[in-house]
């Protein structure tokens, strides 16, 4: 994938998603124009998107490498709890600004440290011990959740300084800070995957790990990097989460875990690994957000919109399959290979 390959401009997955978003916006706009196009609705969407968005990016990198990270939510909650514990212990009502800033810096680094530890454990087990990523991250998910629950007994830690809350509820020129954070993360992951040697390594490992190793790439280092960066994104997501709720607890956002996989695959990430663009993932997230907000506005149970997400996912797979068939018939083996590889869980 060169900087200017012609396929990038007419990316069929992206145009399909843009089309679907337009259809969804027109449909919901038609059903409830006054409420759907109200500024408040779009503001609400802008505040809801980043949390799932950053977590989906954390899922996306392992997916592109041919793996999966089931521990993302658990990692984010552990980071949130670590940061919350440091913040609430060190900051009193009468703390001077300097002490508050110091405590925040300490909390952020402690949270990042916790995230990196989990990422290192995942990366080590996947790359050196060669255990399947689903199993490794299932184990770390249970372990990390267990640690969070053992430490807090399932309780809530809350009450943070305004500087932290700003991340969840503040705006800059009308744009939510959390959305800006998500934009930064998306741009960062996009650059990382598309423009760096590490990103090339990740995509190669996702396509064929053994061939990548034999062609001289240090796959161990790449895989450890994959899980470290995934964990780092969990840490950012944790920041947004604790700021939005003004509290941290084991078990927040647990229902997002499998949704992030749907969002990434809907966004064109090849579930067998090797391919995936951040642009598609961002579009998929926008689509899911429009669907859930739209259904919410016309008074449909949020559960039904989740069911629609599942159905959208299957529909996307169907469309991808049809496209592969067509591409195959129109003699473009290049595209046909994307989704047609056999087997594997």
């Amino acid at each position: 994938m060169q900087a200017r390959d012609p396929g990038a401009r007419r990316d069929p997955a992206a145009s399909l998603l843009v089309g679907l978003i337009v259809v969804a916006v027109i449909a919901f706009g038609g059903l409830s124009p006054t409420r759907f196009f109200a500024p408040g609705t779009w503001r609400a969407m802008a505040f809801q998107l980043p949390e799932l968005g950053i977590l989906t990016l954390a899922m996306m990198i392992p997916l592109v490498s041919g793996g999966l990270n089931l521990a993302i939510i658990a990692t984010a909650n552990l980071c949130g709890l670590v940061m919350a514990a440091v913040l609430t212990r060190l900051i009193g009502v009468a703390s001077p600004p300097g002490a508050v800033a110091g405590a925040i810096a300490l909390a952020l680094s402690a949270g990042l440290g916790a995230a990196l530890l989990v990422g290192l454990l995942n990366g080590f087990m996947v790359s050196v011990l060669r255990v399947h990523p689903i199993l490794v991250t299932l184990g770390t998910m249970i372990l990390v959740n267990g640690i969070s629950i053992a430490a807090t007994h399932g309780g809530v830690i809350g009450g943070f300084p305004p500087a932290i809350l700003l991340l969840g509820n503040g705006t800059v020129l009308g744009v939510p800070v959390s959305l800006l954070l998500f934009g930064l993360c998306a741009a960062g992951v996009g650059l990382l995957l598309a423009r760096t040697p590490f990103g090339v390594g990740v995509r190669m490992v996702g396509s064929n790990e053994r061939a990548t190793r034999f062609s001289g790439v240090n796959t161990t280092r790449v895989l450890i990097g994959v899980y470290l960066s995934s964990s780092t994104l969990c840490w950012v997501a944790a920041l947004v989460m604790i700021a939005r709720f003004n509290s941290a607890r084991a078990g927040y956002a647990e229902s997002y875990l499998l949704i992030t996989i749907l969002a990434a695959v809907l966004g064109g990430v090849d579930p067998f690994g090797g391919f995936g663009r951040v642009r598609g993932v961002v579009l998929a997230l926008c689509l899911l957000q429009v669907i859930s907000t739209g259904f919410n506005l016309i008074g449909v149970n949020p559960r039904l919109s989740e069911a629609i997400w599942g159905a959208t996912m299957v529909a996307a797979l169907v469309i991808a399959r049809i496209r592969v068939r067509w591409a195959g018939r129109l003699s473009s083996p290049d595209q046909a290979s994307t989704l047609a590889s056999p087997g594997g869980p």
Partner: protein, 321 residues
Amino acid sequence: MRERLTSLGRSHEARLAVIVLAIAAFFAVEAPGFPTLANLMDLLEGRAVLAILAAGLLVVLIAGGIDISCAAVAAVSQYLVALCLIRWTGNWALALLLAAGFGAALGAVNALLIHALKAPPVIVTIATMTFYFSMLIFLTKGVSLYDLPDWFTVKVSILGVPLPVAMAAAVLGATAFLLRRVSLGRQIFGLGGNPEAARRMGCNVAGLQVFIYGFSGAMAGLAGLVQAYRVEEVAPSALIGRELDVLAAVVLGGASLTGGRGTVGGTVLGIVLLAMLHNGLTLMGVSSYLFGSVTGLLILLSLAATSVSQGRPQKGGRHAG
């Protein structure tokens, strides 16, 4: 003979059995009330639903697939069976048949999608899981069913063994028979070991997959029925999130995600090990808040041990970098 003994000593099941026995011995000494028949039955009864789900998942894993939707299938078929029984009443045979039938149908949908879309099973079954669970909660509005027929909820035990445990034993026995004694079982192992080779040997891969996911669905249906019997109500959200517990137990029992490996014995040991740990620790007065960490650590250690004993660690990995 000696060869058989050494190969037995090296198997995952044998090591797991030693660990289970050691832990049982430890709790028998340390935890008052642990080594009684009543406690053993309690312990097993609490895990019967999980065990039945695990039987289905085991078969899917051996065939090289994965079924994340099993808990959702259990919840949906449980609700459907309960509706049928409440409206038209019935008997046990009918209830079992309906549960297995609904489950098999819902499970077979996975196979059809996987086969038609050439998509990875994990993605397809996550999508169906999301769809089944959310449709169930949406259509039922989360309302539980309590007015189950009296014949259904009356507590039965066979020779002192509670019905759920007997049911789990029967299901696991049947699964072992399927895997070990029937040619279909060999085909399932073959499909997991090498799908292309299985196809060239003349396996009907599509049909086999419908059977495998249908079997997992049928087991899920039965598990849902047993769950309803145990708690005497049908709550749509009762089984949400259980799919990963099942996966953890099966994996602890030695099944791999790459297919072709796994035994019913190992799965049973995995379930018993987790059940015993929780039960024994509770009896010793250890806080239940620690269970998650213990379970997670156990799974990671088991994965690491399996990997090391199979010599799978990457040679270049350690000194590279």
